[in-house]
């Protein structure tokens, strides 16, 4: 009875937004390989989940700390990934070569690795940070790593030959997250969370377009 309850609970927890248990390779098989479709399914689910979490986190932060501070007016959004030229609409996403798009996705994901680690640690120092924001920051960082691994696998499958991937933007926003002035520090957080929400949305859309294009031949 207890085992059943445990299984049920774990199933319920896993069937939250975008994270369902997908079939895995049985143990012991040597040539087990997930199909590209399965890889894309997982990737899309992960990217969708990451965007959902970052969107919620931004809304909570906005509600809790940013009210009445006029951040929106100031947020011209100088994200650190702005230097990467990414497709700006559906048409452009459909026109770009899938390998280039995959590399872009990888580049963006890699660029966010470092900021997410620091975000998770710095958020804990915020004054009376709600438990939900703390938890989400940690979760996003973890899921982003998993998505990066998945994307590298996909790229390895899709691309033939070795691809030089130097798409990467370093992040130098750590000092701004540690400013003594509370207003400046909170604006730095606001900006970072806004950029995270935007970039996770981009990646989610790119992957869905890619999936539709590569798996379903544009018949979505």
């Amino acid at each position: 009875g207890l085992l059943l309850v445990a299984l049920l609970v774990s199933h319920m927890l896993l069937t939250k937004e975008g994270v369902t248990s997908l079939p895995i390779c049985p143990n012991g098989s040597v040539n087990c390989q997930l199909s590209l479709e399965e890889l894309f399914d997982r990737a899309v689910k992960l990217s969708h989940y990451i965007h959902f979490l970052s969107s919620e986190m931004f809304n909570e932060f906005d509600e809790r700390y940013a009210q009445g501070r006029g951040f929106i007016a100031k947020a011209v959004n100088s994200c650190h990934t702005a230097s990467l030229t990414t497709p700006e609409d559906k048409e452009q996403a459909q026109q770009i070569h899938h390998e280039d798009l995959l590399n872009l996705i990888l580049g963006v994901l890699r660029s966010w690795n470092d900021p997410l680690v620091h975000l998770a640690s710095e958020v804990q120092r915020m004054k009376e940070a709600p438990e939900t924001i703390l938890w989400k920051a940690v979760e996003i960082e973890e899921q982003n790593k998993r998505l990066l691994e998945g994307m590298e696998k996909i790229v390895g499958r899709v691309q033939s030959g070795v691809v030089e991937n130097d798409i990467y933007t370093p992040w130098d926003g750590l000092p701004s997250l540690q400013l003594a002035d509370e207003d400046s520090r909170l604006f730095a957080f606001y900006n970072l969370l806004h950029c995270l929400r935007r970039d996770s949305h981009k990646i989610d859309n790119y992957l869905k377009v890619l999936k539709c294009r590569l798996i379903h031949d544009n018949n979505c």
């Binding site: 959902f52 959004n77 700006e88 609409d89 935007r198 949305h201 981009k202």
Partner: protein
């Protein structure tokens, strides 16, 4: 119901229109909203306001600018989205790029908004709704259907009642957004249309909430009443515990109701703070009254005799207070004579007084007379003395306690036995007699009445050496002198000279008395043993009392005059260990 609702809405709309028409407030032109239905195009809408006159054509422009551009550009399409709108088609739309739009005329900027397209997504309502039946329940009462709008995902609806018809409409939103789009058109679902008829489906009866509430309240009321009226105390105590009544330890509330004042006083006297009130000096003044003397009382035996003999111990109807133990059990031990003077509790005094009352030779008639006259139960000790005094002033020859102190409490039983033993031969009155009471309330003492034999055989006073070093003369000495000289008379000769307003012998009066008496014949001294006419001071308590001891004081020094009952402070200090 629907008609009423419709009429109400119409009325509201009419009122709103009339209000807005008559509204003369200036309204600036402002951008109401910008919206993207599918994240490929977007539109912005604005309100013109009533700023301008209607004759002058309004020249409003919507300018936009991307974040990475410098110049403001004008809206590419004012028409497609309707009046007061600007439509941006796919070529002008960059999804994740921040835009700013502003509403302006030639010289003025009225409103400005900044956004990015992915933030303003509001899907269009689904169109072309269609439904299909998925499955039905085994009883045939419920069924599941599935809605399929065009260009949208499938929407299932579960557990619809087959016997009913439904109106359904749908709206959608972006998953990461909270805002919904507009509702779609109404879809009518009727199961009878597709030929499914439920024969055994009946109108369901709603749960009778009203009846449940009414019966529940009635039942509860009946239960409460039955518990309250129940004879079983345990249930009653459990649910309605009794409220504690205020209670003072040791006091019976019934006692207070009956109004037995002396018993209540005795009980309350257990508490120390009440004690002081009992022995205020004013009591003496209150109870000393002039009264008509009763000649019959002259013929009575000396009070002292009555006090001394112990034959009338048995209970008489009037004697003694009935010790019914009301309320005193908590603090007093009744009927135990206390000779321990350290116990200053007046309860002891009270019990002792009762004991004493029983043992005394107080005339029954006198006591009863007290009772009848006073019409109250036996007073306690503090009242006893003045009361007796009150009674005894009726007779000039009556004998009274000399007011040595306010309380002559506990030693009396033992005292008077000793005294009685000593005086069995002499049967002498050894207390001063109150001959008169001045109007001021003071007591005038006079030598005691010699009603017994042997008094004349007392020591002559000529051989007495009056110790002049004491302030006071012993009354015993004086009395002896007087008794010798005036042995045949009942009335003393001294009193005329001995009168003083303060009622006590002063040295002057005594000296005169002594001088007068000194000339009298000197009778041979009595061979009798010297009698301790007055009790000596055993312990000097507080100003409220002197404890008297009948035994003669030991004579450690020759300087000490043993015949004098009074002891000065210095002598007392020598005597006491």
């Amino acid at each position: 119901m629907d008609l009423q609702h419709l009429l109400f809405v119409l009325a509201l709309i009419c009122a709103n229109d009339s209000l807005s028409a008559s509204d003369d407030l200036l309204q600036w032109p402002q951008i109401s909203k910008c919206r993207s239905p599918e994240m490929e195009t977007f539109s912005c809408f604005w309100t013109a306001g009533n700023f301008y006159n209607l004759t002058v054509p309004r020249i409003l422009q919507l300018l936009y600018k991307k974040s990475n551009e410098e110049d403001w550009k004008e809206c590419p399409d004012y028409i497609t989205s309707g009046q007061n709108s600007c439509y941006f088609n796919a070529s002008y739309t960059s999804v994740w790029t921040p835009y700013c739009v502003q509403l302006a005329s030639k010289n003025e900027v009225y409103d400005k908004k900044c956004f990015s397209v992915d933030e303003i997504v509001l899907p269009d309502p689904p169109v072309h709704l269609n439904w299909t039946l998925l499955n039905t329940s085994q009883t045939g009462i419920h069924g599941d259907i599935q809605l399929k709008p065009r260009l949208s995902t499938v929407v299932p609806l579960y557990s619809l009642k087959m016997a009913r018809d439904y109106e359904i409409r749908i709206r959608s939103r972006q998953r990461t957004s909270e805002k919904f789009g507009e509702f779609s058109e109404i879809l009518y679902v009727s199961f009878s249309q597709i030929g499914i008829v439920c024969d055994h489906c009946t109108e369901e009866v709603e749960f009778p909430w009203f009846l449940v509430v009414v019966f529940g309240v009635c039942g509860l009321a009946v239960t409460v009443i039955s518990i309250m009226l129940s004879k079983q105390p345990r249930i009653k105590m459990l649910i309605f515990p009794p409220v504690p009544v205020p209670k003072i330890k040791g006091i019976d509330p019934d006692l207070l109701k009956k109004g037995k004042l002396d018993e209540v006083n005795s009980i309350l006297a257990c508490h120390d703070n009440y004690k002081t009130q009992l022995y205020s000096d004013d009591l003496w003044v209150e109870f000393i009254e002039l009264d008509i003397e009763d000649p019959d009382e002259k013929n009575r035996a000396s009070d002292t005799d009555r006090l001394l003999s112990e034959d009338h111990l048995k209970s008489h109807g009037c004697l003694g207070a009935k010790d019914d133990d009301s309320g005193r059990a908590s603090c007093c031990e009744p009927d135990i004579p206390e000779t321990d003077f350290s116990a200053s509790d007046t309860c002891d005094a009270t019990s002792d007084s009762d004991q004493f009352k029983k043992a005394t030779e107080k005339e029954e008639d006198l006591l009863c007379l007290d009772r009848q006259d006073n019409d109250e139960p036996l007073p306690n000790l503090a009242n006893t003395d003045p009361q007796r005094q009150h009674r005894n002033t009726q007779s000039e020859n009556s004998h009274l306690w000399a007011p040595f102190g306010d309380s002559v409490e506990s030693p009396r039983p033992s005292v008077h036995t000793q005294i009685s033993n000593q005086n069995s031969l002499t049967s002498t009155d050894f207390y001063a007699q109150v001959s008169d009471i001045t109007p001021a309330g003071r007591v005038v003492l006079s030598p005691g009445q010699k009603s017994k034999l042997g008094r004349a055989q007392r020591e002559g006073c000529t051989e007495q050496n009056f110790t002049m070093d004491n302030t006071y003369f012993c009354e015993a000495d004086v009395k002896k002198c007087i008794a010798v000289t005036s042995h045949e008379e009942n009335e003393p000769r001294v009193p005329e000279q001995g009168y003083n307003e303060d009622g006590y012998f002063t040295t002057e009066s005594l000296t005169t008395t002594v001088a007068n008496l000194g000339a009298s014949t000197a009778a041979p001294p009595s061979s009798e043993l010297p009698v301790a006419d007055y009790t000596s001071i055993h312990i000097v308590q507080s100003p409220q009392g002197l404890v008297l001891n009948a035994t003669a004081l030991p004579v450690p020094d020759k300087e000490f005059n043993v015949s004098c009952g009074y002891v000065s402070t210095d002598q007392l200090n020598k005597i006491m260990p």
